[in-house]
């Protein structure tokens, strides 16, 4: 495929309003994306990553990215999530409460140790994302906070 042929192809595609195309012929591959087109997924026009959609393991508790808005407080360690210091104690925080930076918001138990988890942000509790006594993974969202 010489440059004449390529130019011909480019002109043709532009004329027909093409944003991107790939042309493959006898081992030659031409992949083109025209400028001025906001096309999503810019990383690898070609050779799509296509992470193998294999039997995706059911996570102990898959962290759902529920788009409630606001900022999340995430679990800094793996363990069991408790909303209160003891079964009969009041919850550290409830929906609607204002939370300061450094305030304890819950406990994550790991290796029999009760780790007090402090908020690293400020805001009002919009939602509690994990039920009391449930396991949480590292990085799992625990609370959603909105602006004060």
């Amino acid at each position: 495929m010489d440059s004449k042929k390529i130019d011909e192809l480019l002109k043709l595609m532009q004329r027909r309003g093409v944003a991107e195309f790939t042309f493959e012929h006898e081992g030659t591959v031409l992949a083109v994306k025209f400028a001025g087109h906001a096309v999503a997924a810019p990383q690898q026009v070609v050779t799509v990553a296509a992470p193998i959609a294999a039997p995706v393991a059911a996570a102990a508790s898959a962290a759902p990215a529920r788009p409630v808005g606001g900022i999340a407080i995430k679990a800094p360690i793996v363990g069991t999530f408790y909303r209160a210091a003891a079964p009969d104690a009041p919850n550290y925080v409830n929906v609607g409460d204002k939370v300061r930076k450094g305030q304890v918001v819950c406990i994550v138990e790991a290796m029999k140790l009760m780790n007090q988890i402090e908020s690293d942000v400020e805001g009002v509790v919009l939602e509690v994302l994990v039920d009391n006594g449930n396991p949480v993974q590292f990085g799992q969202e625990l609370f959603r906070l909105g602006p004060v």
Partner: protein, 446 residues
Amino acid sequence: MFRKVLIANRGEIALRVIRACRELGIRTVAVYSEADRHSTHVQFADESVCIGPPQATKSYLSLPAVISAADITRADAVHPGYGFLAENATFAEAVNAHGMTFIGPSPAHLRQFGDKLSAKAAARAAGLPLLPGSHGSVETLDEAVEVARAAGYPLMLKAAAGGGGKGMRVVEDEEQLKKVFVITSTEARAAFGSGLVFLERLLRAPRHVEVQVAGDRFGNALHVGDRDCSMQRRHQKIIEEAPAPNLSPDLRHKILTAAARLVSSTGYVTVGTCEFLVEGDEFYFLEVNPRIQVEHPVTEMVTGIDLVQLQIRLAAGERMPIRQDQVETRGHAIEVRVNAEDPWKFTPSPGRITGYHAPGGPGVRVDSAVHEGAMVQPYYDSLVAKLIVHAADRDSAIRKLLGALDEYVVEGIRTSIPLQKLLLADPAFREVRFHTRYIDEWLKMR
């Protein structure tokens, strides 16, 4: 038997353990760092738990993170793989303390064999030959000089807590010993937390021969054949094979039975490896690796015994399922480690694999955790895959391995394959004229 096993590892060994568990009907839990979210071991386990950020110290090496993940998934056993926490006695203790089984030897055995001096003491007690030397730490320079005179030069001065070639110095004569004794001890204290050093005769061109061993809780101990891992670069094994070639039947028998004797005399349970140096007709105990090893597949290929399944069964308290006379080797197996690294400079080469084709066909085994589109992370060790071949004899196995390496396509990262092809074609390898420093010398000559 266990109901659910948590695998405290990643990469090919995590997948290897998943496969063994599946065949035994055991459920599996994978743990992963944030970098490994899309890894194969996560995809193929029954459950998975994110345990921390990419840095190994905060994820795969974090004792609380791993134990806690086992806790919340109600696993009843933990398989540590190799590396990471596999030989950490404190971890094994913590696993036991949480009511779970550590799939490996007891914490006491991990401690006994984790320390070079107590390991040698155990070997000596079992009647295994040791290299001439101090057979224990030497406290003062005067003591060192005396021991050295008895053992003979050249010698190695080693940190008791060192390993993998670190904390070692070659000492050619008494003058040199006087120069380096104090500094080696001081460095050892700084690097390993213990300044204990010992002296050992240096062999000029030894081969590394190791024996796969296994023991159960009922006092049964056996060997599962030998391997040769002399092809090392800076003490890192590059090519491994089973059986060890060109050993006289008499010497092989001595080495195998010595290894089994050590298992028996120490009451070691599960699988492990007993390593020796061999020069001429002499062999010397080196150390015990109390874990499943990277190179275990070559033994599986020639014996037909699944060592990871055996390890799990023995850890679960089962009686040894085979007798010594049922361990038979058939043919020859060779393994090469495909590392993500520059084949000549040995610098790591992480990145995305953009093209991948693994070899196949008869006698070809690939233990890997990658595929086209997979990301080789920069945070962990560079092992991408192990390629193992099995053929009727050593020459056929070498030819098969060379053919399989020709078929092996890994694009997007650099791998050690070009180096391995050269080494396999090297006459010294083919004619078994190699020793543990052969590759280092060969690389200097190039």
